[in-house]
Subunit: 227 residues, 2 copies
DNA sequence: CGCTCCGTTGAAACGGTTCAACCCACGTGG
DNA sequence: CCACGTGGGTTGAACCGTTTCAACGGAGCG
């Protein structure tokens, strides 16, 4: 596939004029990452950001003892590392390929130039950052104000809401990573899943989870009931 | 003081042309809030955002049991609630006056119009959002990856770095609120402060805290040593 | 003076982590 | 084709940091 077609297919850039898309094509470049490969590390100087053309990218933080907190796993069409373009010059987190991925690298300077000339693009970028901010804010709320069962219940309800029919969920990440996303460890996640199963709230078979009692899960997520 | 002078004095708007500042003056309005008054609540529809002219504003989240997590306390020249302008229509947190304050309310539509015509303003706004994102990301890291002593040490070092000379810190918020900012409760904060004092790391007299052993505090903040 | 607000201290309880063992599915190489 | 190692997941028991609950002290104020 030609690069310009990839670019035109990205929601963030689809509003650009053809000539702008061509300019972007000339400046940006495709890059492939094998599963597990580092895209950037915390503290790295930023000279641009990435758009995901295919694959997924895990963005996370690391404690001194090596525990990792996943901030988000991004998929095709989403941007990674864009905040560092507009303030500071360092990435505040780590990013690595969650599976074999191809990304589009967009150099900072040319992108800023593009934004300067296109209000639509700048508004789109503002929307992206606002959404990110909202997401991370929700994570703070989750970590600080809810205990793990409530966080897990919220997350499962979220997955079920977007994920298809009748409380049927197919986890697309390992349970270990789900634990890290929820700010806990695999052991705790496992215990809570078995407890939820024992209470008849869910059925859990490997990476397939089914919500059996939505009202009960809602109550858990809201913190109105304990496990 | 005339409204337009207030506006011209705000960093975010100082780059605007005189005519733009005049347009903004015509559209925005000053609002006073008594200490403790609600600026907006979580879930409120957003029709614009606020700039702080004087005073301070506390932005926070609330758990179902009433525990509060402070996201940040903003001061003069800073914006509040700006993320909701560009995505979604709901405020994702609560905001209330931390002391008697006067704010400038800027309606969403006219601000977007302004941004559309001024690339400099849009880049400034992107920088603001990026900085916010960075801040909240750091909070996540703190909450999820460090225990309270490390968080407190980091915070004190931060205050000392920007706050003046020789490890002398003057807390400008109550210890109870500091606890909430750190994601903990007053009792825990108090215990840790006495422990730090006992270890000779700090001296604590009311709201005045002095760092006596910077290296030790660095080690604590980095998680290399325990209390 | 008595009230309230804030901070401090102690003892007990709790949620979550740590450490260790174990199971299973899977892929690899002898 | 089977033995082996590996990674993901589960389970149990001990441990630990933090919270909860309760009580108390001091400062500020009507």
């Amino acid at each position: 596939m030609r690069l310009i077609d990839d670019i035109a297919a990205l929601p963030l850039f689809s509003g650009l004029s053809l000539s702008q898309q061509e300019a972007l094509t000339a400046l940006s470049r495709r890059q492939s990452f094998k599963k597990g490969a580092t895209v950037f590390s915390r503290g790295d100087g930023s000279s641009g950001f990435y758009m995901i053309l295919a694959g997924r990218v895990k963005v996370f933080q690391l404690s001194t003892e090596g525990k990792e907190q996943i901030l988000h796993i991004f998929g095709p069409g989403e941007s990674v590392g864009e905040a560092a373009v507009f303030s500071g010059a360092m990435f505040p987190a780590y990013a690595e390929a969650y599976e074999d991925s191809t990304l589009l690298f967009i150099p900072r300077d040319s992108f800023i130039e593009l934004i300067r000339n296109d209000p639509t693009l700048s508004l789109a970028m503002l929307a992206v950052l606002s959404k990110r901010l909202r997401m991370v804010t929700a994570l703070v709320e989750s970590l600080s104000l809810k205990e793990v069962p409530a966080r897990l219940a919220s997350h499962l309800l979220f997955l079920s809401a977007e994920g298809g029919a009748a409380g049927r969920i197919e986890l697309d990440i390992s349970k270990g990573h789900l634990a890290s996303l929820l700010g806990t460890i695999p052991e705790t996640l496992s215990r809570i899943l078995t407890k939820m199963t024992a209470r008849g709230l869910i059925r859990s078979e490997g990476s397939r989870i089914t919500i059996l009692n939505r009202a009960g899960m809602d109550a858990l997520a809201a913190g109105e009931r304990k496990l």
